[in-house]
Symmetry: C2
Amino acid sequence: MHDDEQRKRIVIVGGGFAGLAAAKEFRRSSEVEITLIDRRNHHLFQPLLYQVAMAGLSPAEIVEPIRGILSRQKNARVLQGEVRGVDFDSNRVIADFGEVPYDYLIMACGAKHSYFGKPEWEQFAPGLKTLEQATEIRRRVLTAFENAERETDPENQKRLLTFVVVGGGPTGVELAGAIGEMSRYTLAKDFRANDASLARVILIEAGPRILPMFSPELATRAVRDLEHLGVQVWTSSMVSNINADGIAISSEKIQSATILWAAGVEASSLGRKLKLDIDRAGRVMVEADLSLKQHPQLFVLGDQAHVVQNDRPLPGIAPVAMQQGRFAAQNILGELAGKPRLEFKYVDKGQMATIGRSRAITEFGGWKFAGFFAWMAWLIVHIYYLTGFRNRFFVVMSWAWSYLTYRRGARLIVEKEWRFELPTVINSSQSADNSQ
Amino acid sequence: MHDDEQRKRIVIVGGGFAGLAAAKEFRRSSEVEITLIDRRNHHLFQPLLYQVAMAGLSPAEIVEPIRGILSRQKNARVLQGEVRGVDFDSNRVIADFGEVPYDYLIMACGAKHSYFGKPEWEQFAPGLKTLEQATEIRRRVLTAFENAERETDPENQKRLLTFVVVGGGPTGVELAGAIGEMSRYTLAKDFRANDASLARVILIEAGPRILPMFSPELATRAVRDLEHLGVQVWTSSMVSNINADGIAISSEKIQSATILWAAGVEASSLGRKLKLDIDRAGRVMVEADLSLKQHPQLFVLGDQAHVVQNDRPLPGIAPVAMQQGRFAAQNILGELAGKPRLEFKYVDKGQMATIGRSRAITEFGGWKFAGFFAWMAWLIVHIYYLTGFRNRFFVVMSWAWSYLTYRRGARLIVEKEWRFELPTVINSSQSADNSQ
């Protein structure tokens, strides 16, 4: 047993895939003490977040309290709080609750959506990165169907039953497919005045084809599967404007009450704040060992890091983050044991995307799958990586139930505001209006 | 089959226990067409709402879309919207989306919390009537433990680990018991700096004893069970003030960061707005057939109605609401068949309250139970009445898992605001401040 004095203090900022993998990799070491700081009390399994947005799963089913995950790892403590900066001279992390000194600092703060310099689009086209955004998207999609039921003007009804998803990556494909499936199967019998199964779903992609990270055959198959669910796929379509009425694509305009954003991504702003060397998407440029040249004690991982391999930056996906987390921890432990640092090499495990009910595409190594078996593979991989036995069990049961009944388990519209907060907000915006 | 012209239009406002029971009772009639209007898209099973607040269940597990419940009942349509008033001259309900004409109107709009003329207490002591409030209470309770972990000042730490529940009815008892259980079992091992199991939980009741609707023996047993979970029960304690620091009881003061309100209840404000004859709690005074003397086509049910039986007003509980819903529908169907109206008689099915893990008290007829068997009875009754097969299955599984592991399935802090809404709100309140 080492003295407390001798133990190296490892501070990890962010409890996502990268930060948590790093923390766990230290579990057998008595030479370090870990402090994991996160704004949230929970780890979020982002690959299934779109299912929360699409009323298939409940928020609690894809999260796990970080404190619970590290409960038995006695060398780790968890603090909930927001990191505001880093003092590189005194080696201290500055958080909203105080300062935390470190010997090694691991930053894995993730990414948020980017609107290509048009932040005003966000209110009309929310992105999908947090549970609150997922609940908001669910609220908008379900409310559009509810409003269409009360609407008597046919033009307005059409606008309410038009859903546009911007971005043809895996998230956009999964969102569009799920809306198509929901309108055709889940909601079809529940409405009297309108036919929910006639809802228009449009998937918009700026590039020449969707899912560019997949092979062209699989991407074509995905388009066919989407069309089967009534989703129209528009490629080479660049968004020129978004407002409360709808969306403009070059000179075309679509009236739509519900637009979802799955296009651009931008790293956490901490890299910019700390004046580190960043790329255009705000990702921190790191060395081959994932540390920084000027700050070798600082590692940056996951969606927040710009790591080039085979002349291309690594994608912002969970396998990359997890491998980087384990690697950074191993490098630190190695250094403490007097070994030189190693270089990070990503081992590509393949990729997959699901398209509505019982269809998916999967690609790994030279292998390509589509259809039901790809979907089964998708299910198994996601259940396997999901954190927590309870979550796994409940997600499997939710999926089984939805599969058998064509229903969705979480068709719940949660209101945006708590009643007792509303008056304050209304008053202040009213007085703001009056003063102008 | 009747013509559309001949069918009587029944409008039901509110999809709670009363409104839904009424709507379903009409299911076999081809003489009526039902329009159910609710602000929410879902029916909420309120008896289990405290479990959502206490991180035991997810919101989606205790709700069911109203549209889904009435999906197969072809004479019923559901509209999501807020009722603003009623035009009694033209027999029309005025909603935010338009007007709906009726031949019979059933109002069952429920109740909200009352702060005895101190609405400013609500921000410091939220009540538990809606899912949003339940999520907010969960956020406050879990955040208090998180903040205590980061706190270094012992006095402040004590304030953060002090939880006060106001109101010794079943909801207050259930909340206090659940906080006690959570601190002692679920969270005990997850914190490093503080001992969560030393959290103080205080249940405050203005009357001479808690659970006055139960027999004195059972109420005493409940006090003992609460004490076993570390809950201090203070009776004959009248709240004199609540603010951000804590709560004042006559001349005593308790420093507490988390105060929950389970004391007063007030009927929906619609009765007052419509200038109907109401009691002090805003409940509408109804005739023996649950209709109004001045408006015999209007029935008021559930928590919104003041119905006297055996010289006492009926309590605001689910069995009363369900029996009234069925009764009102039967009276209308009887009248359409030319029969005279009947008088409502509540059949008392008994009452129960649960106190933390595996303890409850149950009373029906002359029978009284406490302990494990009362708890089993509580479980079975609540599962039986819960709406939806899926919800029943998931709640049973959640409970089984929590019972075996001492964990809670929904330890999830959801933030109050969406990121993309924040700027607007902040700007408007800032400009409001500047203008003053």
